[in-house]
């Protein structure tokens, strides 16, 4: 029972807003020690755990290219491009992105899109350009909301798209874990197919919220004064 102290440490550490990196490292060490794992084995777990999860880091490989393009005005161009397209609102644009992200991820193409490759350089500036076109200005709270929704559309799209693909990490993890521990022969395709209903539900729920984003932006526009109040 005492090993659950590690879980509690994570919760408390987070509630106290201590740096998550510190919390996770210490909680891991503490629960392993409580569970009777030797210090050498703990060090080895950190080494092998890091080595086998390096693929997550590769997303940062695109940063030099994206940085270079930003230096030459990629974001500004994306804004201009959308501000010329009539009928394209921020909500509709993000809805289209959600759809494309989910669909491509469902075919295993998870590297189309992503916060570094698509959201920062292209999608968020385009959404902001759409607000600019219909409202003429983008006050700071609206910028924050647009950024948050652009990032959320990307994450939700890839999460609930990729599980419909047979050869993706989560599906492989399910079949590998269950087969190894419970002597089943689980068909990866079956697991992937049962992810489809949730994928559709995710699109309907989040898509509906994205369509309501335009009304929210309009309301935020009404709340924020046209110009900062200066003299009488």
């Amino acid at each position: 029972m005492i090993v659950l102290l590690g879980v509690a440490l994570v919760v408390v550490g987070f509630a106290l807003r201590i740096n998550p990196l510190l919390v996770v490292t210490i909680a891991g060490i503490v629960s392993a020690l409580l569970g009777g794992v030797s210090p050498l084995h703990i060090l080895e777990a950190f080494g092998s755990g890091f080595a086998s999860s390096r693929s997550i880091t590769l997303a940062f490989l695109v940063l030099p290219v994206i940085g270079l393009l930003e230096r030459y005005g990629l974001q500004q161009r994306a804004k201009t491009l959308v501000s010329q397209a009539a009928g394209l609102t921020a909500g509709r644009l993000l809805l289209v992105y959600l759809f494309v992200r989910q669909l491509t991820a469902a075919f295993g193409l998870t590297s189309i899109g992503g916060p570094a490759q698509m959201v920062r350089p292209v999608i968020y500036p385009m959404a902001e350009g759409a607000v600019m076109r219909s409202h003429g200005r983008v006050p700071e709270p609206v910028t924050e909301a647009i950024k948050a929704h652009a990032a959320a559309a990307d994450t939700i799209g890839v999460f609930f798209g990729e599980d419909c693909f047979v050869a993706i990490g989560s599906v492989l993890l399910i079949t590998a874990y269950v087969d190894a521990n419970y002597h089943l022969k689980l068909d990866a395709l079956q697991v992937a197919i049962w992810a489809v209903p949730t994928a559709i539900a995710a699109f309907l729920i989040h898509g509906f919220r994205l369509l309501r984003l335009d009304a929210r932006v309009a309301a935020m526009m009404a709340d924020s004064p046209e110009q900062p109040a200066s003299a009488q």
């Binding site: 490292t25 060490i29 590769l58 994450t155």
Partner: protein, 332 residues
């Protein structure tokens, strides 16, 4: 044969360059700790190729570096950042006006390098497995997507240099450093979380949770068992930031012994939906740093939890939907 390891070295090299750049940056507020952080992280990424993974994972190239040594380096890196000794410096870049002028002049040409990345990645992911030289496959089987991403990045950089002709090609790395530094320590959190999952499993957290659940769930309440499984997946994912780490814990505690063995649920839909219930937890937790903290950092949002706040309503609704699905599909 080109394998994923080459791409890790490329990425490690980029982090190393960033570390060295910071070491030469006299104006950086936390110059030396930042330099050490990025250099160590870069070196660890490269060294990972020579360390044996956990049991059951694909073997490393040549397991010549003891994994405890890498583990020590990783812990040091985590502590440097964990104690707040890192933080971004200021990188000289173009002004808003300069960018507007450049965008007006170059127009849609700017999208070409950006679109090169997905185009080349997908091409190699789909066709790369067939490339061969003298009868030998060019890429290591199963690594096409990762290799594709690496090759695509290089291709995009070359295209970018050719189209934009920066006076000094190295600006790509200073600009890359600007973005990487805004991500900062969050770059290491995902790996630490997967290690946490490993340690929790070794320490027997899953077994303990199973014991507790057996006390809570009445023998024959299917609805309650389903709810405990789904909410447990979401809850443990909230804590551990990773549905992959929660899955073995909750499946060993409830999914297999109660739902499959006692109540006869079909495994495929049960576990598929169980994992997706975990994903609903991922949407709500800052522990899932690479999904929920990195994008706000990259987008330079004022509220670093802004994305999570947007995702919570969708996550709650979707979790409810998943519970309903889990009550129906596995028990047809």
């Amino acid at each position: 044969m080109i394998g994923a390891e080459w791409i890790y070295w490329l990425c490690g090299g980029f982090f190393f360059i960033v570390g060295v750049q910071i070491a030469f940056d006299r104006e950086h507020p936390k110059r030396w700790t930042n330099a050490i952080f990025w250099c160590l992280l870069g070196a660890s990424l490269c060294a990972g190729s020579f360390v044996a993974g956990p049991a059951g994972s694909p073997a490393a190239l040549h397991p010549t570096i003891p994994s405890w040594l890498l583990g020590g380096a990783v812990i040091v890196t985590a502590l440097i950042a964990g104690f707040g000794l890192t933080g971004p410096g200021t990188v000289r870049t173009t002004t808003e006006a300069e960018r507007e002028a450049s965008a007006a002049r170059r127009r849609n040409l700017l999208f070409v390098p950006a679109l090169t990345i997905p185009a080349v990645t997908v091409l190699i992911a789909i066709e790369g497995g067939r490339l061969s030289i003298g009868g030998h496959l060019l890429l290591v089987a199963g690594t096409q997507t990762l290799v594709g991403l690496g090759v695509a990045t290089i291709a995009a950089l070359v295209v970018g240099w050719a189209l934009l002709r920066p006076k000094n090609p190295a600006v790509a790395f200073t600009e890359g450093r600007r973005l990487l530094e805004s991500i900062g320590w969050a770059a290491l959190l995902p790996q630490m979380l997967s290690t946490l999952g490993l340690l929790f499993t070794q320490a027997g957290v899953g077994t303990q949770v199973g014991v507790i659940v057996h006390h809570i769930v009445p023998e024959h309440s299917r609805v309650l068992a389903v709810i405990v499984y789904a909410l447990g997946m979401a809850g443990f994912t909230l804590i551990m930031g990773n549905a992959f780490a929660a899955f073995p814990i909750m499946t060993a505690a409830v999914g297999w012994p109660i739902l499959v063995q006692q109540m006869g649920a079909h495994p495929a839909p049960l576990f598929a939906i169980g994992m997706l219930a975990g994903f609903c937890g991922t949407l709500c937790t800052p522990m899932a740093a690479n999904f929920n903290l990195v994008p706000p950092a990259l987008l330079e949002m004022r509220d670093k939890y802004g994305q999570i706040k947007v995702q919570i309503p969708t996550a709650i609704l979707l979790l409810a939907v998943n519970v309903c699905f889990m009550l129906i599909f596995p028990f047809r």
